[in-house]
């Protein structure tokens, strides 16, 4: 498990656009870099982030990102979504070497 940080409001008005900022601890090893012994370090990347918004009825993927070696270590990604109804936002990161992590944040919409 990596340390993941998700910064977003926990309450919002219906129809409001909220900004979500995500950060996860990960080396994002590119596979182009030599290590201390001169040998190329094997690639170890987070390849994908997806955000699904479950509002009690529908579970919709509102955002996803494909990441390549050019994304910095500890990938930070920020995006926006509309607060449609109270529910849960599920953030899933997946990557090389079977990396998978999911975090959930509850959003209350008034």
């Amino acid at each position: 498990m990596s340390r993941a940080l998700i910064t977003m409001p926990t309450t919002a008005k219906r129809g409001e656009i909220i900004e979500i900022r995500t950060l996860i601890a990960h080396p994002m090893e590119t596979g182009y870099r030599p290590g201390a012994d001169g040998a190329i370090l094997p690639r170890n990347l987070i390849r994908r982030l997806s955000c699904r918004y479950f509002d009690g009825r529908d579970d919709v993927e509102v955002f996803s990102a494909e990441l390549f070696p050019a994304v910095a270590a500890n990938p930070f990604i920020s995006f926006c979504t509309i607060a449609t109804a109270s529910g849960t936002l599920r953030f899933s990161w997946s990557g090389d070497n079977g990396f998978a992590q999911t975090e959930s944040v509850t959003l209350t919409v008034t």
């Binding site: 656009i17 590119t30 182009y32 870099r33 030599p34 290590g35 201390a36 918004y53 919709v60 509102v62 955002f63 996803s64 990102a65 494909e66 990441l67 390549f68 070696p69 050019a70 994304v71 910095a72 270590a73 990938p75 930070f76 990604i77 920020s78 995006f79 926006c80 979504t81 509309i82 449609t84």
Partner: protein, 155 residues
């Protein structure tokens, strides 16, 4: 007495000129190749649609001190309605080992077509953001960036 020295000077000058010439040719050959790669990557993302300048703003510091962590932000002018929204935003670079940087998939639920991330830059180069709308049209904005400390060099 001047003879051999002159001869050496002449040889040295000839060697320097030749080296400079070869380096120049290599540099000239490399630059268009990187440009062509970048154009090919953008064309593949656009899937045949013409890529026009406008509607997209790629925000990045023009002078980057540390290429390992470079904050970027892409904003697209779009109402983000069901009928007219941004489907995807891609960022490409010219001189990293790989042309792709990241691809973001959005939809009308995004509300605002703004994404931000932090990237690596291996060299002073051009960075291009491309937005693909739901009607298939593509819009772009390119920025030239100077990098003083390159990523991927230090272990």
């Amino acid at each position: 007495m001047n003879g051999p020295l002159d001869f050496h000077g002449w040889q040295r000058r000839r060697l320097l000129c030749a080296t400079a010439g070869i380096a120049g040719v290599l540099w000239l050959r490399k630059a268009p190749a990187a440009q062509a790669d970048l154009a090919a990557a953008i064309a593949a993302f656009a899937a045949g649609a013409p890529v026009r300048a406008g509607r997209v703003t790629l925000e990045i510091a023009p002078l980057v001190e540390n290429g390992n962590v470079v904050p970027i932000k892409v904003e697209v002018q779009s109402p983000m309605s069901e009928a007219d929204h941004v489907k995807a935003i891609a960022v490409f670079n010219e001189r990293n080992p790989q042309r792709d940087v990241a691809v973001f998939h959005l939809g009308p639920r995004a509300g605002r077509a703004t994404v931000a991330t932090r990237i690596r830059l291996a060299n002073s180069q051009q960075l291009v953001a491309v937005a693909q709308m739901n009607d298939g049209s593509c819009w772009t904005h390119g920025v030239d960036v100077i990098v003083t400390l390159a990523a991927c060099v230090e272990p």
